[in-house]
Each structure stands twice: as structure tokens, then as C-alpha cells.
Symmetry: C2
Subunit: 579 residues, 2 copies
Amino acid sequence: MKKWLRVDMSALEVRQEQPAEKYAGKGGRWLTSQFINEEVDPGCHPLGENNKLIFAPGFVTGTSAPSSGRISAGGKSPLTGGIKESNAGTPFAQSLARLGYQALILEGLPADKEQRYVLRVNSEGGELISAPELKGLGMYDTITRLREQYGDVDICGTGPAGEMKMAMAGICYNDPEYRASRYSGRGGLGATMGSKGVKAIVIERDGPGVEMADSDLFKIGQRKLAEALRNHDVTKPGGALNSFGTAVLINILNQAGGLPFRNFRSGVFDEAEAIAGETIADEVKKRGGEGMMGHSCSPGCVIRCSNVWPRKDGTEHVSCIEYESDWSLGANLDIDDLDAIAEMIYICNDLGLDTIEAGVTLGVAMEGGLAEFGDSEKAIDLLREVGRGTPLGRIIGNGAGLTGKALGVTRVPVVKNQGMPAYEPRSVKGIGVTYITSTMGADHTAGYTIAPEILSVGGESDPLDPQGKVELSRDFQATTAFVDSSGYCLFITFALLDSESGFEGMLETVNGVLGTSYTGDDVLDIGKKILKMERKFNEAAGLTRADDRIPEFMRREKLPPHDRVFEITDDELDQLWDF
Amino acid sequence: MKKWLRVDMSALEVRQEQPAEKYAGKGGRWLTSQFINEEVDPGCHPLGENNKLIFAPGFVTGTSAPSSGRISAGGKSPLTGGIKESNAGTPFAQSLARLGYQALILEGLPADKEQRYVLRVNSEGGELISAPELKGLGMYDTITRLREQYGDVDICGTGPAGEMKMAMAGICYNDPEYRASRYSGRGGLGATMGSKGVKAIVIERDGPGVEMADSDLFKIGQRKLAEALRNHDVTKPGGALNSFGTAVLINILNQAGGLPFRNFRSGVFDEAEAIAGETIADEVKKRGGEGMMGHSCSPGCVIRCSNVWPRKDGTEHVSCIEYESDWSLGANLDIDDLDAIAEMIYICNDLGLDTIEAGVTLGVAMEGGLAEFGDSEKAIDLLREVGRGTPLGRIIGNGAGLTGKALGVTRVPVVKNQGMPAYEPRSVKGIGVTYITSTMGADHTAGYTIAPEILSVGGESDPLDPQGKVELSRDFQATTAFVDSSGYCLFITFALLDSESGFEGMLETVNGVLGTSYTGDDVLDIGKKILKMERKFNEAAGLTRADDRIPEFMRREKLPPHDRVFEITDDELDQLWDF
């Protein structure tokens, strides 16, 4: 029987509990979103004592299923004001699951706002330890110190930005080599963690493992799934993601005219090649970065799309240059210098910032005159300012929406106050529908229609054609909600969309662990149930169809090179929820 | 036939037009709210080219009706994101009406964002004049220069805060002696004006006057109304408002435990006496301020509740120390120094800031650690920072909600992102209902239940008793929507609530001007129609019943001295709109 660990920060008490029956068989996003619906007042302040922060590994997380080291963090978002599930791949997820915890919950607020705590978790439960020495510490030093103190534990924490309760703050986790590099980045949950005075959580690795209802079935599925991943061009060893990292998308999106440039003024970046995944791989090799490509975010991943970027002398600079970060801190700012981008990612990792929101915010700041586009030195300094907690740092640190308001900028690429990721909705309509309608605010991972629109994976869909994109996004969003609950990395879907046997295998692993008999139909049904649940919370929190809208300028400004606006009407967008 | 003046800032064109039939007989808030519903896209950016700014005098503005020099400014609010009507008493209103303009509309955006324009209006129409010399100029100097250039015109303008598109920016008008002191303060419409590049509007005073359908009826009504105003304790010459100004309320609210102190931590300010209206009157006399009390905001006012505050040497410092400003920049900040409060009002008037939002924001800033409560020097400096346009200034200048977010403060007394005025909702429940449910965001003038709850005017209603407050607020809000359309100052209602003949007289003046035969029932019906219209816009703009909510802390923190929370439930609040 799985257990919960509930931490009451008002009383400074930790207790294990048996979850209610209604939570049986839930995991990841399904669990976090259901829990928030049941236990969090939609009207609460995201940084107040009534918000709760929940961590939940997926169904199969902690098992030997390939690419399944995911954890969902959930709460009311300080950034969007709605529900938030932000997931990450990290050994922390696996260790938590192997200790038998279905969920870990932080609630209440400590009386002493200046104190910092470490929550130490093992199979027996948890304890809160005062840790004033960690106050204001960057995530790199935080992880180093905690390892010195606690040994080979897995760690999650919030950086100085989260301690300062900034809405751009994510939750940081270690990677397999203890780098501060894996993130539940989006939506500001690092600020919620900071508001609760929990600087870090350390988890012992000695868990007995994940109970299985049918381990034979699990093994059958595991093999099929691994086989599918090993045979798909996108996910296979030596394939696109493994060889070049996610930044392989830079050239692809640029060629499609969908790589947002200079705060979404164009879909083309003439210097894209300089920051492309292929260039990263070349340069890593040139600098002697042995083993720095094809790195994994958590043990047991087949895809291994992460990387480590070396300095010119071959020593490690940062992990990792993800496509989204490469775009947000590069193309979006007219910056083509990978070392500058790497430095910005390093700062984000250390301060505890969402790299997407950081780059989108810097784009708005440049639009507002705080720096010239292309000025990487100034961009780096603006990011450092966040850590200084100055008024300027507090503007930047609270995201693109607030920065736009503070500076009086009208071209602000956000939906539900969350910055848009690395795909231009005017050039790729389906992902636009996802940005606009997702319960999460603008989020590509909520319904990654890029697969058929750009990558010809799971069929083909003309990115410029508005027809059918509402249905496409709806199906992707529902499927994703299930995948986000399973513990699998979303990237397995590249293979599953093109492999029936892989999809079957995925279901068999889930059924093997849970004792369920889910079919393909259940995937969609459960996904839709989760979406509706999230939508219900958002509505009660004040987010309506009027918040399912694209920024005004994207309906008016034609985007080069295709010279298109976003044409899908509000009425059509509203139909996404007709199910 | 009344005409409109429409200014297209994109084309830099000004044209007179005949309003459509549907606008016949409309004025003030009725006209601005109907116009916004008809012509402004609820999804538009408040600082973008699709927002429009409309000015409309009331039905009887420009006539000799007593206390009727009011103008409504309307648009989509940069502060609340919803509809906004913000009205002011000023000779500008009267001059506009006498020139025969029912409305003056600014729309579009100029191509050159750095240019500034003056709109000059006379009975023939208007012209746009480039005025680069006014860029960034404070409102005092702006009015001085415009008078030098244009003579005895009436003036409205936006200060440096509005030019910087800050959501705390109001629209400033001259008083009868050309002081920059009268404000459509609330909701940030000064930023909308600033976004359109219109620094100021100058209006000639030579208008032929307001056409009347039945001038005899008007005169009959005018006498009855004047009589009622002259005989009511609150409004009569030598009465409470005339003798002590609106700050007469300081002691009254303090005694009722409803004067918010230190960012709404208590309803009592021990030093209230030091900033009370009675003290102001004494001190003005002591300093030799002959004629500085009982001043009027516009010619023809019977009530004359404005004042001028002198420095210690008797020379003029600022006009005026209104109750709301006295509270927001005084009691709310634990500041009991009238000279410091006067200096802050002066800064607000000059920069073009809403004094209520300014004080509420400083309270939140103090809560967030930017200054100690009670530190008037630091408070003054924080306000000056707004004019400097620094990052800190941009935080403060964008209001309490944004400041709370930037600083991670959870005790933020706003509704729909607009700062709460000078009455504690936990101690005066009816005004709380108004704050929460008003289409305008937290706004006392939207339904001033203080009359029966605190002043025993128009009946009596126990301020601490939640019973019946939804109905009370609804009736007040509806009546107010009519009064805000009439051109009358809301303060005439003190007399009308206790005088049938006065109320009759008010209606006769309106019917005399418009040729209507409105009755008391029509007042409520029209008022409700206006409210529904505004609500409709807000819903389309994304404001729902989830935005008709009191800040969470007011439901949890018991407020001294009565130790009460705000008890009226969300369900009860939602019933306000059941009509």
C-alpha cells in the first residue's frame, strides 16, 4: 500500500498517512490535479498558508520501465493563478517512488518567515531540520552542502528566487551526477516552496522499490516499449534527440518559420545555425567534451537527450542546453553565442529560475528598453539582478506578464500570464491552440502538436493550416495528461505515435504496476477527466474562456516569413472544451 | 443636437460627428459605459490601439444646477482589466458641456511614441498640436505653460506617470483657480491617455451653453435641490463637509473602528485626531489660510467641501486634503503629519497619480519591507521614485496589486487589482460588498453605503451586521450609476436620501434638460441597466464572480477593535447580481 508524507509547516510536523481510497491507482499529474481540486481553495493566495505543494511520481516511476523517472509538482500557480502541474525527469522521482510514497505534501506556513528548513525523507517518514545556513544559497552550493551532510541522497530545492517568492521560480532537482539541472520549471511553484520555508528536500535512496500487481505483464510491456524507443528515428540511440539533444529543433523550427525571434517579431533567426543542436554536438566534440552529449536526466532512460556544455577549455560549464532554453535565451533575444546562453542557463539553474520564462521575460524587457536585443552581456546582468533582489530583479523575477505591465509594454507573449515557449503560434497553429486553451497557461508540453505539424510523427498536419487544430490539440492534451500521470517522459510518445506495439507495451507496464486493464480508449478518457478537473479548479479560481485567448498583437501583426496572423477564432477555441 | 468630437491618434485626425440615436439622452457614466460596450473590444490591451478613452459630462453638467460640474472618463482599465468610469468635479466638465459636446473620444495610437500632443477644442471642433516641450512635464508646470499659451482655457492632462503608462496614473483636471488638483483618479486611465500620446486637452470657455428641453421645469427643480442641499447637516454651508472638508470622516470612521491602519491591520489609528478634518480646519486658520476651507472644485457648488492646505508660513502648499488621501497617505501608513501628507498629495497631483492607489501601494510596499510604517520621509521618496521611472518607481507606479506580486506580499487589499479605499470592510460590511462586487474594482463611490452605516443618512444600518448588506449595496450601486450619469456630485445624495423634495428637484432638473419624465423608479432601473452593461463588458474581458471576492486575509485575520472577519459569504455576494 502506498503512503503519503504530509508536512504541516505551520505546526512544523511531519506525518505519514494512508491515502483515501479515491486516490488509489493515481499518480503524477492525475494525483496532483485531483489533490489540488480536493484540498486547495481556488481562491487562496498562491504564496499563502492555504496553498499546498504536492509532489507525486508517476505510475511506473521507480520501476525499470525506460524513460520513466518523472515527477509531477502541483499547486496553485503563483504565475497563472490557476492550477499547475510541472513535471521533471530526475532520480529524485525514482527514489521517492521506491520509498513507497505516492505523494509528498507541503502545507501551511511557518511562523518564522526567516527560517529555512530541510525536509529529510526515508522509508520511515520524514523530519524537518532547521537549516539557516542554506538561506539565500544558490542551488549549486545547496546541493553540494546537502550531499556533504547527507551523503548520496536525492535532492530537490528552491533557489534564492523562490525564497524571494518570485513567480519565475521553479523547483530544482539533481540529475544523476548531482547537478542542479532538472526542473519543475514552469508556473512559479518554486515560490510556493519558498513561501513555506522549505529550502530543500533530501530523500534516501534505499527504498524497497515499487510494488507491482503483475510483474510478468510489466516485463512484457517494458520490452515492447524499449524496443519501440530503440527503433524510432527520433528516440533511438544515435537518433536525433540522442545525438543532438532537443536543440536539434532549432534548425527545424527555423526552417518552418516557427522559431520566435526578437520577442516574437519573426519566425526566422538568421543566425539559428550558430545555436543549433548540430552545432552544439560539433562544438562539444571540438572542446573535448567526452560523454557530454547523449546524457540522461535520470537512470534508465533510453532516449538520453540531455547534454553538458563545456567551456572552451573542455571543463564543464552547465547542463543542459535544452531546445527551449537555447531558444528563449538565444533566438528570442537575438543572441547567437552558445557560451552566453550557457551562462544564462547556469544563472537560471543556480537562482532557481524557469529558463523559458526567463528568456521570454528578457525579450519583453528588451522590448521595453531595458537592453538592446542581441546584447548578451546586458541580458546576463539582468538575470543576475534577479538574484540580487533589487526592484529591477523583482520585476524580471516575476515573469513576462508583470515585466510587461511594469514597463508598459503591449507586445507580451503570454497566455494566462505564462510566457510562450519556443514555437510561434502564427506559424504552427496547433501548438497555438495548446498554448491558448491549456489549463496550465502557455505550455508546449501540454499538447505537443509539433509532432505531426513539424516532425511528421503520428501523421502529418500542415502547421499553417488552421483547420482541425482544435481537435488535434484536444487529443494531444488528453493523451498528455495521461502520460504526465504515468511517470513516462513525454518523449516516449514520439515512438508510440508510430508504433502500435510500443503503445501496447506502455499500457502493459502501467497495467502491470497498477493491476488495471487500461486500453487506448482509457488513455483518452482518463486524460479528459484530468483536463476537466483542472479546468474546474481554474474556473473557480477566476480563469474563464476569456483567459483562453491569444495576445492581441498576434491577431494583428503578420509574422514573417509566412506573413500570417493567428486565425483560429475565439469561438473555435472555445470548442476545445466541448467534450 | 449634441455632438461628439472623435480624435483618431493613428491618423492624427479630429472630427466632429453626430452621435447615433441610441446615445440620445445619455451622459456621464451611462454614456461612457454604453460606448465602451459598443466600441471597445473587451479583449484589447488597455494600452494598445484598440482601447478608447471617452470623456462625457453628465446630463446637467454645464447648467446652473448646483454641484453638477462632473465629468466621466471611461475606457478599459489598465489597472483592473475591466471597464472603468472615473469621474471628477472640474470646470473642464462644464466647459466641455457648454461647447455642446456630449462626448470627446480618443482612439488609436500615434506612430511616433515619443511625440506628445495637445488637443485644442472649441465649438468648431478640435485640432492636434505637437507639444514636444510638454514631454515628461509635471501637471503643475503643464497647466502653467498651457495657460500661458492658450489663455483661460480649461485643461485636462496626464502626468509623467501616465506618459510612462503606469496603472496608477489618473487623469488630472484644473480646479477653478487652475490648480492641478481634480482627478479622474482611479483605474489608470491616465496611462491610457499617455499611451495615446495626448499630454493634454485644452477647452475654450466660450460655449453657448447646454440646450434645455424645459427650462422652467429645470429652474423649479434647481431651487428644490439647492434648498435641500442648503438644509442638510452634511451638505449645508457651514455644515460638516463645508467646514471640515471630507476629512471630517477621519474621526468618525476611527470611532467606528473602520479606519484602516497600517495596511489594514487595524480599524483604529491612535493618532487619528492629528490628521482629522477638524484639525485641518484649525490649522488652516492658525496658519492664516483665509478662504482655504470651503473651497469648491467647480463653479456653482453649494457644498464646497474642497480645501487648500497652507504651509506653516501660510502660503499655499496643495489642494486638497481629501479624506481618502488623508487616510491612504496618512492613517494607512501610520503617518500623522499633515505636512507630509500634503507633500505626498502634491507629488501625486504633479506626477498624475491616484492618491488612493498611491497610499494603498505604499502600505503594501511597507508591508514588503521597502520602508517602515510611519516613515514619512521614506514614503515621500518612494512616491518621488515613481516620477524617476526607475524599476522601483515602476513597481510602485503600477499599483498595490503589482507591488504585492513583485515583493511577494500576501496581504494586499485590492479587489480586481484596485486598491481598497478608506473604509475597512470587516468593520463596515456594506461598503465591503460594494468593494467586492462593483464593476469598477474596490471603489467606495460605486455604492456609498457609509451613508446609512456610519452617518445615519438615509436610514440606519449597523455597520458590523452582515444582514441585508447585499441588498443595501445593490440599491446604492444602482442609484449611484444614475447619479454618475447625471453630472451631479455624489454628495448631493446625502441630502436627497433625507429629502423627498430634493430628490424630486434633482429629477426635475434632469427632466428639464433632457425632456424626459424620469421618476424614482427610473433612477433605479437606469442604474441597474448601466451596471449590467458594465458587468457584461467585464465578463467578456475575463472578470467573473471569482473576481467578486475579498482578499483572503480579510476572511482569516480578525480586525481590531471589533475582532471581526468579513463574514458575508461568496454565495451571498453572488446574489448581488440577481436582478
